[in-house]
Symmetry: C2
Amino acid sequence: MAAAVAVADAEGLAAVSIRRVAAELDARTMTLYSYIGSKEDLLALMLDAVGAEVLVHEPLPSSWREALVMIAWREREMVLRHPWRTDLISQRVAVGPNGLRHVEQKLSVFDGLGLDRLTSWRVLAAFNDYMTGFVVREALERGTPRSEGISDTERAAVAEPYIRELVESGEFPRLAPMIQEGVRGADDNFERGLNWVLDGIEGSLPR
Amino acid sequence: MAAAVAVADAEGLAAVSIRRVAAELDARTMTLYSYIGSKEDLLALMLDAVGAEVLVHEPLPSSWREALVMIAWREREMVLRHPWRTDLISQRVAVGPNGLRHVEQKLSVFDGLGLDRLTSWRVLAAFNDYMTGFVVREALERGTPRSEGISDTERAAVAEPYIRELVESGEFPRLAPMIQEGVRGADDNFERGLNWVLDGIEGSLPR
DNA sequence: TACGAAACTGATACGCTGTACGATATGCGA
DNA sequence: TCGCATATCGTACAGCGTATCAGTTTCGTA
C-alpha cells in the first residue's frame, strides 16, 4: 500500500498498476494477490491510508465554524500532497475505518448546536461538496505530476494560439480577458469560497 | 460521438471503448481513427455534446441569483441524464466550444453588478465547485447504470452486516444512525446547499 | 468520361492492463 | 523429520489504445 501511494504521488494514479507496484517491491506480479483481493482493494487501502492524514488528533476548536475551517485546510493539504486522491473521488471505492472516523469527526463538530439529523447531514453534505469541487478543480489546474512529460511552458505554448483565437472571435467578451490574464492566489480563492459557504450555513442556524 | 454517448448513457463510461463504439456503428475498429485522433478526442467530443444541453437559449432571468439557480438545475439534470459526465470531471479533457459558451453564459449573469474580474471569477468558482461536488456525490450514490450487474438489493444485502458492525462498535455514535436510516430527498438537499452558497455570496455583494 | 488524389476501410500486431490457474518454494507446528 | 498451510511465481487469456500498411471506394477536375 505504501509502495502504491509512493508511485501515485510521484507519477500519478495511472502509473499504479499491479505489475508496477510489485516491481517496486522486488516481487513478481501475482505475489501481490496474496495480500489483496483485487486492484480495487489496493485503491481502497491507498484511500484509507491518506484518509488518516486528515484526522485531527488535537482537540477541535469549540466553535463549529473554526473546527470546520481547520478540517477543510487539512483536507486540502492532504490532496495537494496526494493529487491522485481526486481521481478516485468519482469512483465507487470502499470506505475504510479512517474514512469513517473522518466523517464521524466532522459530525462531532455539530455537537451541542441542537441540529436535527437531517440538517446536520445537509450541512455536512454542502461542506463536503464544496470541498470536493474545489480540490478537484485545483488538482486539475495544477496538473498531475509528470503528466506525459508535457511541461507547463509547452502546454502554454500549445494553448496560446487557441487563446488568441478565443479573444479575437469576440464571442467570449467576458471569458477571454480572464483566461488571458489568469487568476492568482489559490489559497485566497479557497478561503473566500469556503467562507461564503460557511456564511450561508451560519445565517440559517438557530441562534 | 452520438454512438459513444449512447453507450455511455446505457452502460457507463467504462463500456466506451474504441472497439465497442466501432461495433455499434457496424465499422471495424480502426475506422474510427479516420474521424478522431485519439480516444481522448472522442471523450472531448462527448463532453462538448452534452455540454450543449445545459446552455440556456431563452433570456436569462435578470436577477443574477435566479439565473444561477436556473443554470444550476440544468447542469444537474444534464448530469442525471449522463451520469458518466462525473467520471470525466477529474480528467484533463479539452474544453470545446459549448463548454466555453457555457462559461461565458455564467459570467454574463454578473453583468451590471459592478463586480471586478477577480470577484466574478471567485463567485463563479465557488458556484462551480459546489455544483461539481454535489453532482459527483449524487452520481456516486445513485450508482452507474448497470454497474457490474449488482442490483441495489444485493448491494444492501452485502452492506447490512457491515452496517450492523458499525452501529454495534460504538465508535461512530453520530454516523451510525444516519447510515441506518438513510437520508432522502436529493432535490431538497440540492436546493438547500445551493441556497447556502448563494446566501453567502449575496451577503458579501455590494448593495 | 477518365484519371489521380484523397478519403475511407480493414487486418494484423505491439505493448500494456487485471487476474485466473496451477506449479513450486518456504516456513512452522506436531 | 514430516506434513501442511502459506507465499511466491510463470504462464496465459481477454481486453485495451493505437501504429502500420495495404486495399478499396469516392470525388474533383481535366
